[in-house]
Amino acid sequence: MSCAVDAHDLRFRYPNGVVGLDGVDLHVTHGERVAVLGPNGAGKTTLMLHLNGLLAGDGELEVAGMRVGEGDVRDLRAAVGIVFQDPDDQLFMPTVGEDVAFGPLNLGVPREEVRERVVAALATVRMEHVAERAPHQLSLGQRRRVAIATVMAMRPRLLVLDEPSANLDPRARRELLEVLDTINRTMLVVTHDLPFAAQLCERAVILAGGRIVADGPCTEILRDDALLAGNDLELPAGFDLARVRLRTAADPLTL
């Protein structure tokens, strides 16, 4: 089976001269859950936008078996589900149900099947009761889960989440973690929330200055205080890695 993400010497410079990516090498196999950590401005969002062709830099990038920049961009966007940080950006249709249906309808999925997918995707995130509601009637935690459903309805092979736990209260954060843990997908989780990464992902990479500066099991990376400090990352005060149930490579996904 082809790999989920294979980036080789990926470079990108914004029109204003800011370097977004400065030679990223990243290899993710199917079934892995990888946390992408790093300071602000490290290029995390830039990398994310490359994965489905919204930005195109130099270098080689293959995602879900497709070379980015060649072939039908629709297939690529069907295979890579990106959940943006602010659910208000992601939920733009008047009702939740219509929003979840937006992606699959764009892919040309027949209406009957779209209906089933909407129900299934909302059930995955435990939000099946809000299909008729307007997004502005939901709490932030609920909107974030619905945003995940809008992407799940496209049946992506790779799920990319941008700061999924940002601004959530502890309970909404835990519920989100539980929901994500039930999703059997290759995942890339861009986050600052190190405990969240530790519980969800078995592997972590640190992106700094547009390059991957560390790559390894999440537990090892999070135990390396010097490495974390060097990249403006830190665990919450009093947080003890030994006391949470960490995810390890021994928890394989059944894809």
């Binding site: 489905n52 990106i82 208000d88 008047p94 992606g103 909407v118």
Partner: protein, 253 residues
């Protein structure tokens, strides 16, 4: 601002025969009542009565109470009536004396006419809004071949007006929290900067929303999951309105 936003949305009994009508039937029916009302001269006043009765019947069937109607009509109607109320004072011609006031007869007629027409129009709009959700109205308009661009813009406006109003409220609270209470013109600068910030934020949000749309395969069309079905009840609704109002309007004229 938020107060007015909360006086929107579906009211009454969502399971009523009116609520369950196809949005297209309601848009056409209530727009029809408005057209009949607006095109009626004062001499044909029974048509106003008929429009009023039709609207009352719709409100009763939908179980939209007078309280709801009043609270919503109150938002639109005063603006129109405020202008109309001066007409009896400024029109020329024969006058009638009401106490110390001398009012133009023609002006009074105009006032009555404007009031009747504005009330019928406002009531129709309020009843449409109270019995049909905004997304449904948009869907109906789309199917009635209103240009896509307009319905898409209205759809985004409906989705984001709440988000932007929320942002504005937070910014106002932040200004107030730092004791901002403009007393003279020199102090309104902060408000200007707030509006600028709001504009820039909304503009940036627009860009992000577009990226999110592209990420989910957007290619220029806004697909719809729901399918509208025009049923017998919809035909009956429109036929009843047409068969009572139009002949009446023609006969009394």
């Amino acid at each position: 601002m938020s107060g007015a936003l909360h006086r929107t949305g579906v009211a009454g009994d969502p399971a009523s025969p009116i609520h369950r009508l196809d949005p297209r039937a309601k848009v056409l029916g209530l727009a029809g009542i408005t057209v009949v009302g607006v095109s009626t001269p004062l001499a044909a006043w029974p048509a106003f009565v008929a429009c009023g009765l039709a609207l009352s019947a719709i409100a009763a069937l939908a179980r939209v109470g007078p309280g709801v109607i009043w609270s919503r009509v109150r938002v639109i109607l005063p603006l129109v009536l405020f202008v109309a109320v001066f007409v009896p004072f400024v029109r020329g011609g024969p006058t009638v004396d009401v106490g110390p006031l001398s009012l133009s007869e023609q002006g009074l007629e105009t006032f009555a006419l404007v009031t009747a027409k504005a009330t019928i129009g406002a009531l129709s709009a309020v009843l449409l809004g109270a019995t049909t959700s905004f997304p449904d109205i948009l869907h109906g308009l789309e199917r009635l071949r209103v240009p896509r661009l307009l319905t898409v813009i209205a759809g985004f406006m409906y989705r984001y007006v709440f988000v932007i109003a929320d942002e504005a409220r937070r910014m106002r609270a932040a200004l107030a929290a730092r004791a901002y209470r403009p007393r003279h013109l020199g102090q309104v600068g902060a408000l200007g900067r707030m509006v600028t910030a709001l504009f820039l934020r909304s503009y940036e949000r627009g860009e992000r929303v577009y990226l999110a749309m592209l990420a989910r395969g957007y290619a220029g069309a806004m697909p719809r999951l729901a399918v509208l079905a025009f049923r017998r009840a919809d035909t009956a609704f429109l036929a009843t309105l047409a068969l009572t109002l139009i002949p009446l309007r023609v006969v009394v004229a």
